[in-house]
């Protein structure tokens, strides 16, 4: 029973290895990849059901009792995120054959995709700070391979910067972990939480926390550390962009959410204000970047940044509504960003260019694509009844409750600007005159189905919020009460 907690890591890991052996037989590899992704999705769905009904699952690896060994924790938050990851994995594996060249596919493409998911899932389920670093490295290694996959000139140029910034922040992560070890004498998150709460040195802990904040903010692309992100996310294949945009930055946000609700909430007056102001600036500057871009992929990539800002603000607000808003936004943003990157890739492939000034009139040749892009834009901007609205509503309510009126204004302004950036792109691409580019329709449909699959989930997250919101609110309560996690890991769980 407790061994279930290893499944989110084990399934994609084994899938990656098996797919490495079949890499020369492309048709078989594709089918196996889709099968494994489906199995992963079903298993994660089952695990979420299990966790919600029977309570969280804690695995103590090798039977080393909690604070000494490495532990894996499947609590509602991590399980929900792992499930979302598996949804995105399925869509990506589905979309890949129509976008990635066969030569690339045979060059271990799916292996790297599954290894990336291994790292992401591992980062979500681990209950150990150093282990989190290790899983970050696993996912980064896979991402280094994916970002250079294809070996185009521009890819190699941007990937150097991507690798360097991630290497630098990883080393800072190690340094921060060793600081924490020096101060609190453990790296187990539950024990850290216990000792941090009992510690008489909140000043030092907060200082280390801010170092760790910068590490995760770099990975999560928050202001002022996002400059590396947009350009390096648009150079690989759209499938890879979708994976990166949906998963990598969100792992950074998840780490912030986990560590700062659990361990580093000693001096709320400093930490909360840090989160709120970094979040505010991230939202504003990110959306300005989106408005300034003329490249459809770059517009989508820049739109990742304000979303990160929203989640940071939610963590900073640190009340029931704020945290539920953050979690809800995190879930829906993973899915909608993946969908948007896939749609942007389809648009760029259909038009033969990424420059929105050179497109036009595509609504006649690609109506379904157009309306899907439009709906995705509405989701992103938070227009009701779509899912972005629910997250933003909760965040705004939480901010008012805390009395952060300026933040509310910035949030609403940002939403408006996001809408502007997406609608402007929509008008340039789909309306007006332009040589309607004729593509094979069948090829186009194969690309639209996976994006449509993701859109289905975002629409469900909006219209069917009643079904999911109670769970998210439970998770927020659970995060507000670190003792629950400590009890789960250190005392019970078996």
């Amino acid at each position: 029973m407790t061994n279930f907690a290893i499944l989110p890591i084990l399934i994609p890991f084994l899938a990656g290895i098996i797919l490495a052996f079949t890499h020369n037989r492309i048709l078989l590899t594709r089918r196996l990849a889709a099968l494994f992704a489906l199995v992963h999705l079903i298993t994660m769905g089952f695990l979420l059901y299990k966790v919600l009904i029977d309570g969280s699952i804690v695995l103590e690896a090798g039977d080393w009792i909690a604070p000494y060994g490495i532990i894996l924790v499947l609590d509602p938050l991590s399980t929900l995120l792992v499930l979302t990851t598996s949804i995105i994995l399925l869509a990506v594996v589905w979309y890949a054959p129509s976008s990635v060249s066969e030569e690339q596919e045979s060059f271990y493409f799916y292996t790297f995709v599954f290894l990336l998911v291994t790292g992401v899932s591992g980062a979500f389920v681990t209950g150990d700070l150093f282990n989190l670093f290790v899983f970050f490295e696993v996912l980064l290694m896979a991402s280094y391979a994916l970002i250079t996959h294809g070996g185009k000139k521009v890819q190699l140029r941007e990937s150097i910067k991507y690798v360097l910034i991630n290497l630098f922040s990883s080393m800072l992560f190690v340094t921060a972990v060793s600081y924490i070890y020096a101060v609190l004498g453990t790296v187990n998150m539950a024990q850290l939480a216990e000792r941090a709460a009992a510690s008489d040195q909140p000043g030092i802990i907060t200082t280390v926390a801010i170092l760790l904040f910068f590490v995760f903010a770099t990975k999560g692309a928050a202001f002022p550390l996002y400059y590396w992100m947009p350009h390096s996310y648009i150079v690989p294949n759209p499938v890879v962009s979708a994976l990166f945009g949906a998963l990598l930055t969100k792992v950074g946000v998840y780490s912030l959410l986990r560590t700062f609700t659990l361990i580093f909430h000693q001096q709320p007056e400093i930490i909360d204000q840090l989160f709120i102001w970094v979040g505010n600036l991230t939202m504003l500057l990110g959306v300005i970047g989106a408005l300034a871009s003329r490249n459809i992929k770059l517009i989508v990539a820049y739109n990742i940044i304000p979303a990160i800002g929203f989640m940071l603000v939610g963590i900073g607000i640190f009340n029931h509504d704020g945290l539920s808003g953050s979690i809800y936004y995190l879930l829906q943003d993973m899915i909608v960003k993946a969908a948007l990157f896939l749609l942007a890739g389809t648009i760029a492939a259909a038009a033969g260019t990424s420059d929105i000034n050179k497109m036009g009139g595509m609504i006649r040749s690609h109506p379904v694509l157009g309306w899907m892009f439009f709906v995705a834009g509405l989701v992103l901007a938070g227009v009701p009844p779509f899912s972005g609205f629910i997250g933003k509503l909760l965040l705004v309510r939480g901010a008012f409750e805390k009395g952060e009126a300026v933040t509310v204004i910035i949030m609403l302004l940002t939403s408006l600007l996001i809408l502007l950036s997406i609608v402007r792109a929509f008008i340039r691409i789909f309306w007006g005159e332009g040589e309607a580019i004729k593509q094979q329709k069948r090829h186009n449909a194969r690309r639209l189905l996976p994006a449509g699959f993701l859109m289905l989930f975002t629409v469900f997250l909006g219209v069917g919020a009643e079904a999911i919101l109670p769970t998210v609110q439970q998770i927020a309560d659970y995060l507000l009460n670190p003792q629950a996690y400590i009890d789960l890991v250190l005392k019970g769980g078996r």
Binding site: F130, V134, I160, L164, M171, V174, S178, Y179
Partner: protein, 112 residues
């Protein structure tokens, strides 16, 4: 002893950052290697140096060396070794393809 180690780690951090801020790609890679050394020394020091007996399984051992930082450092060394070698290969390919190893010339713009 700890003081000396920490000062050494600090000096390494300084050199590392100086090298990372250079324009030549190779200098930057040397900088990242130094950075990882600094971080590793730092972990080792954080567990306190030279505390006496080995962390063995005899009952009643007092003053034993903390084994955890050594496990952490080993993991971290392996990872940074792997990343550095990947970075060297990547840099080699990037220099061959782009025809320059100067970061100033590797800026790029929106539309390519």
């Amino acid at each position: 002893m700890e003081i000396i180690m920490i000062v050494l780690a600090g000096i390494l951090f300084g050199f590392a950052v100086y090298n990372i801020l250079q324009k030549r790609l190779l200098r930057i890679i040397i900088g990242t290697a130094l950075l990882s050394h600094a971080a590793h020394l730092f972990i080792l020091t954080m567990g306190k140096l030279k505390r006496g007996a080995a962390p063995v399984l005899v009952d009643g051992t007092e003053n034993y060396t903390d084994p955890l930082p050594q496990a952490l450092i080993l993991t971290s060394i392996v990872i940074s070794f792997g990343v550095t070698s990947l970075l060297l290969v990547l840099a080699y390919r990037a220099v061959k393809t782009n025809g320059t190893d100067n970061m100033e010339e590797l800026r790029g713009n929106d539309h390519d």
